[in-house]
């Protein structure tokens, strides 16, 4: 990739590059309007996107891969719009990325060093994957350096950091209990840099592209929610944008995957849908160019854009396992056991109490009997007189 860049004239704008690739201005404007809609800008904002792409030069990008499966990259590459892959990935970005660059070995590592040196404070650092901290980070080493070392080195002079996917945002499957490699999200490894958490396993391609375009067009970090996710894509629950929502409110639920209700497309709440607690754009942007999303295909949302979603299972049940218990136990199991224990305690206590009360009553009747006896004697005495 870096080799190819050298053959290009320097200082080319994104627009120049796209036109040089044979994209028409009409297509270019169409792209700007589309991606503008994705990132939620108003009509006037689209203008700004067009201007930015026309006048701005490429953003240098370092894209690191740590503990991950590359599904984020795969998702991005499969963006429905060719210009995304073409301009965002092929041209403006990726001075260094293990998966896609042409260079390898020492050459590749040199490219990384060159990029950091050349674009100090300007480059964007994209990280895919979590960082293992156990055993001094031996579980993920590239070119003899630990993931933690590489992340810190690259982050030092980065303009901003994008954490791609659940791995980089909250550790994903490798951070699930017992997390043997101590897989750690980027926000806990790097401090003092703006970090954009682009959640999901993987994130939706349009969301990834949208975040990049936002950075490019507005030269600012997009507005983030309190978990560091861009509000434009993660401010609404899958539940709130779900086309099956009316079934939820009507109390129409799928009871099992092969029942009549499933066929009718009722709400998947009772078969474990995590839509009500999951923030993502699946219900609006959907996947594969808006073709579908899990719920539309009849599968409950597994909540892949939420922290520790692997440990919040089972995927197909409403109530998650209660945290802090080794054995699988839901809040209901624990509640019933506690209530049962209370009932046993109460029953035993009630029995004891009755013994005590009987004693007390017995004492009283004892007193009374004594008194009655005295009275009786007195009366007898009276009679005897």
């Amino acid at each position: 990739m870096s080799l190819e860049l050298e053959t290009l004239p320097k200082e080319q704008t994104i627009y120049d590059q796209v036109i040089a690739r044979g994209v028409s201005r009409r297509e270019f404007l169409g792209f700007c309007a589309w991606i503008g809609a994705c990132i939620g800008v108003q009509g006037a904002g689209v203008d700004q996107v067009v201007k930015a792409l026309e006048t701005k030069k490429r953003i240098p990008v370092i894209w690191l891969h740590f503990q991950e499966c590359t599904c984020c990259s795969e998702s991005f590459l499969r963006s429905s719009h060719p210009i995304v892959a073409d301009i965002l990935l092929d041209k403006i970005s990726l001075d260094y990325t293990e998966t896609l660059m042409a260079a390898s070995g020492h050459q590749a590592e040199q490219a990384l060093q060159d990029t950091i040196a050349k674009y100090k404070g300007e480059y964007l650092l994209c990280i895919e994957g979590s960082v293992p901290l156990a055993e001094d980070g031996v579980y993920c080493c590239i070119g003899g350096k630990s993931a933690k070392g590489i992340a810190e080195e690259c982050a030092e002079h980065a303009k901003a950091i994008i954490a791609w996917g659940n791995c980089a945002c909250s550790g994903c499957v490798q951070a699930a209990k017992p997390n043997p490699t101590q897989a750690t999200p980027i926000k806990k490894v790097i401090a003092g840099k703006p970090i954009i958490n682009v959640q999901g396993c993987p994130p939706i391609a349009e969301v990834m592209a949208g975040v990049l375009v936002h950075l490019l067009a507005f030269d600012a970090i997009p507005e983030l929610d309190n978990l560091g996710r861009p509000k434009a894509f993660y401010s609404r629950r899958v539940h709130d944008t779900c086309y099956r929502r009316p079934n939820f409110d009507a109390g129409l639920f799928v009871e099992s995957f092969d029942d009549e209700n499933a066929r009718k497309g009722y709400c998947l709440y009772k078969v474990g849908c995590k839509g009500p607690t999951t923030y993502n754009s699946c219900g609006t942007i959907r996947w594969n160019g808006g073709v579908s999303f899990p719920i539309q295909s009849g599968h409950p949302c597994i909540g892949c854009s939420e922290e520790n979603f692997w440990d919040k299972g089972p995927f197909y049940e409403r109530l998650p396992d209660f945290p802090g218990f080794g054995v699988e136990a839901t809040a209901d199991t624990l509640g019933k056991v506690a209530l049962g224990a209370a009932a046993v305690g109460v029953a035993a206590h009630a029995v004891m109490t009755n013994f005590r009360k009987r004693n007390e009553i017995g004492e009283q009747t004892g007193e009374n009997a004594e008194r009655a006896e005295k009275a009786d004697t007195a009366v007898t005495d009276d009679h005897s007189i």
Binding site: A250, G251, E307, N308, K312, R318, P320, L339, H349, K357
Partner: protein, 249 residues
Amino acid sequence: MNASHDYQRVYVWQQPVRWFHWINALAIITLGVTGWLITHPPALMNSGEAWTSFWFGKVRFVHFASGYVLLANFLVRIYWSFAGNKYASWRNFLPLTKAQVREVWQVLKVDIMQSSDKAVHALGHNAVAYFTYAATGLLTVFQVVTGFALMAPTSQSWIPRLFTWVTPLFGSEGSVRTFHYAGMWLFVIFTFIHVYLVFYHDYVEGHGVMSSIIGGWKFMEKHKIAAQEATGISGLPTKSRKAGSRPKA
């Protein structure tokens, strides 16, 4: 009659306390039932179209509305713990004085371990009961905070939006839900034991604790009341009253 059974009627629970108790009970029961339904919706309807019904939406509405009732009622009770009589006072709720700590031990010995028969005769609650209600109050706060945190993202109101900081503490909204739901179980267990103990105290002591939450009056032998007033445990400690804090009738 025997001098030891010379009863006196004492007005213990003022009206706001009684109203609080019953509104609170109603709110908790409503919240518990609707909360249970929200987590385990029954298969009431197995056919039909969504536009014909809104029952699950209504269950959720009742849950949210009851949450507001719970909060408002709780705030009134907090106010009353400053404005009410000595049995309602906030000072009772934590066992901070020596006398209160001693009473806690005595109550545990009598009521739980049943190893002593020197029963504690408290006009208000005994020290253990007060402390339990403090814990229940804390549980109420937890339920209100997590409940409003769950409501915040889809609410336009400023009240739930005060609690947007809660979800990040739990990591995700799913976790907040799990703990909010577990809180319901704590209320179930509390209610169970609470109702049993009311029966127990009424059954064993005969001070009219059961009817006191309806009428406000308790009935106690005069010598026991005198002993209570001497130790001054129920209500404001005698010493601290002398020490210059607000005198209370």
